[in-house]
């Protein structure tokens, strides 16, 4: 019962948030809607039994990436920066209403066909019953230290590279 409620809340957040990210003209609003979408994805992880991933999603995205994005927006002139160097305002939205309608109909058509094909394969996958609410932390920890220890160490080098590279690029220069 609660799984279904959580699933519906999360999927509502995901779908609504993603739609609003696409539609909102204000970059700040898009960023906040992205935050809601990420919350929704964290909720979906919970329903899938991935509690550690849900928390990691919250820590890295809600605390890190979204704040980074907000800072980035502020540093590049806030939301008022709509003009390019030719002085022409380019608001998103390409094509006309007709294009949207044709694209939507064709997407629906293709999606129906593809889903019909995939559905046959999907039927074989039954939901495996997890006996209890199981913690994934220990399993992830063991896995990170045995099978995936190389990936674990290399990710530190990736992060080091990202840190040095980004700090070097973004550093204010004397001019």
């Amino acid at each position: 019962m609660f799984e279904n409620i959580l699933f519906f809340i999360s999927s509502f957040l995901v779908l609504g948030g993603a739609t609003m990210v696409v539609l909102s003209k204000n970059l700040m609003h898009a960023c906040i809607f992205l935050l809601f979408t990420l919350f929704g994805v964290a909720g979906l992880y919970l329903t899938l039994g991935a509690d550690f991933l849900a928390a990691a999603q919250l820590v890295v995205y809600a605390g890190g990436v979204v704040i980074l994005m907000l800072f980035g927006i502020m540093l590049t002139g806030g939301t008022e920066n709509k003009e390019n160097r030719f002085g022409i305002e380019k608001i998103p939205g390409m094509g006309s209403v007709k294009t949207y309608i044709v694209a939507g109909v064709s997407i629906l058509f293709i999606a129906t066909v593809v889903l019909k094909i995939i559905a046959n394969y999907m039927r074989h996958y039954q939901q495996t019953d997890l006996p209890e609410y199981m913690t994934t932390v220990e399993r992830i920890g063991h896995s990170l230290l045995t099978d995936h220890i190389l990936a674990f160490e290399i990710s530190s080098i990736l992060l080091l590279g990202a840190l040095i590279g980004a700090a070097m690029i973004a550093r204010p220069r004397k001019s």
């Binding site: 019962m1 609660f2 204000n26 700040m28 609003h29 906040i32 935050l35 509690d51 550690f52 849900a54 928390a55 990691a56 999603q57 919250l58 820590v59 809600a62 605390g63 890190g64 979204v66 704040i67 907000l70 800072f71 502020m74 209890e132 609410y133 913690t135 932390v137």
Partner: protein
């Protein structure tokens, strides 16, 4: 197995009997429904307690500052001015809700809500006692970090949306301060997780004892330093003095909530005071033994076996003792937080960043490495048992 308040209550016979009778009477299995009702009631009580603690926090702040500055403090409403916070609440709700004309209305309205829900969601894992914990998640402390960081977003968004220069400066400062101090706090928490071998707050608390020498603060020299790193970090995360730069009234008017009036301001303030309470609780659970009572009185076995009380009463007395221990430690820390605010001057913004990145972060990394080496070499014994064993071995040698 996860402890929740529902699983704690369901161990009693009365609860089981009630479930059986109610199921028979209503004709369906009421376990899920009763679980929901218990959760809802507990959450409701906890939210109200947090709101009252937030309100009383403002009262305590004024009273203690008055005490320090040899003044009277609030003394008109109620006995000793205790009901001052209710009067403030009524005043807040009667205030006009002014939204600046240039502001971003949507973000302006949603920012206090983000802060409030971020702080309230952290209450779920607060280990009040071993039974009266709302829910003991396996990822407890990590979940708390994640949900708590929403407050940083809320402060930034609130500062941005007001479209006032003071607010924006305060919001930028607040967000960068909160995220900066999250690094030493995270590292200190990881060193505690290393020692306790689990991220759930009950696991962390249970691996300590009731007496001070069994607490993690005195477990080894690294955690002793780690406690102070963590405490300074939580002060900064909650925007408390000497780190209250986001709302520095002498330079930024009122910081990120300059433009907020009425209830929206009240919710920001409530979120701040409740966050101080939650963070103090977490520090006491991580380093000061949390709800542990000396001599294992907390599990109630003593009352049942030696005093001959029934199991229900004995266990609940134990829980109440644990609750008392937790709140005592937390409120002591809360008092220290307020005391620091009225003692130390505010830091400069560059000193703040220097303190975080050049002192606390290297120290906390060093602590983390030290704790890992300690766990490896001394197999997780505390320094007292290591010293004792070395002394016993030396005595035996001679």
């Amino acid at each position: 197995m996860n402890n929740t308040i529902v699983s704690y209550l369901s161990q009693f016979e009365g609860h089981q009997k009630f479930l059986a009778v109610a199921s028979e009477f209503l004709g369906f299995d009421v376990t899920a429904l009763v679980g929901f009702v218990i959760f809802f009631t507990a959450c409701f009580i906890l939210v109200n307690v947090a709101a009252a603690i937030g309100g009383l926090g403002t009262y305590a702040e004024r009273k203690i500052s008055a005490d320090i500055q040899m003044r009277q403090g609030p003394n008109r409403v109620g006995p000793y001015g205790l009901l001052q916070f209710l009067a403030d609440g009524v005043k807040m709700i009667l205030k006009e809700d002014v939204v600046p004309a240039q502001a971003d209305k949507f973000l302006f309205n949603i920012a206090p809500l983000l802060a409030l829900s971020g702080v309230f969601a952290t209450l779920a894992v607060l280990p009040l006692s071993s039974g009266f914990i709302l829910t003991d998640l396996n990822i407890g402390i990590f979940y708390l970090l994640g949900v708590g960081s929403v407050v940083g977003v809320a402060i930034f968004v609130g500062g941005y949306a007001s479209n006032s220069k003071w607010s924006l400066l305060g919001g930028m400062r607040g967000a960068s301060q909160i995220i900066s101090y999250e690094v030493p706090v995270t590292m200190s928490i990881i060193s505690i997780v290393l020692l306790s071998g689990g991220m759930s707050l009950v696991t962390v608390t249970e691996s300590q004892g009731g007496l001070p020498h069994q607490w993690f603060i005195l477990h080894n020299p690294f955690t002793f330093i780690g406690f102070f790193v963590m405490f300074i970090g939580t002060l900064a995360e909650a925007n408390r003095a000497p780190f209250d730069l986001p709302e520095a009234e002498s330079e930024l008017v009122s910081g990120y909530h300059t433009e907020y009036t009425g209830m929206k301001f009240a919710f920001f303030a409530l979120a701040e005071y409740a966050e101080v309470f939650v963070l103090c609780g977490i520090v006491s659970a991580l380093y000061l033994g949390g709800y542990k009572v000396p001599m294992d009185l907390g599990n109630g076995v003593f009352f049942v076996e030696n005093l001959g009380l029934p199991a229900v009463i004995g266990k609940n007395i134990g829980q109440l003792l644990q609750l008392g221990a937790f709140f005592t430690k937390t409120f002591l820390l809360y008092y220290v937080v307020i005391w620091i605010r009225w003692t130390l001057p505010r830091m400069r913004v560059d000193d703040l960043m220097t303190l975080c990145w050049k002192y606390l972060t290297p120290i906390s990394l060093f602590n983390l490495i030290g704790c890992a080496i300690w766990v490896y070499f001394f197999e997780n014994q505390s320094m007292w048992s290591v010293i004792f064993k070395a002394g016993a071995a030396g005595a035996g040698h001679h």
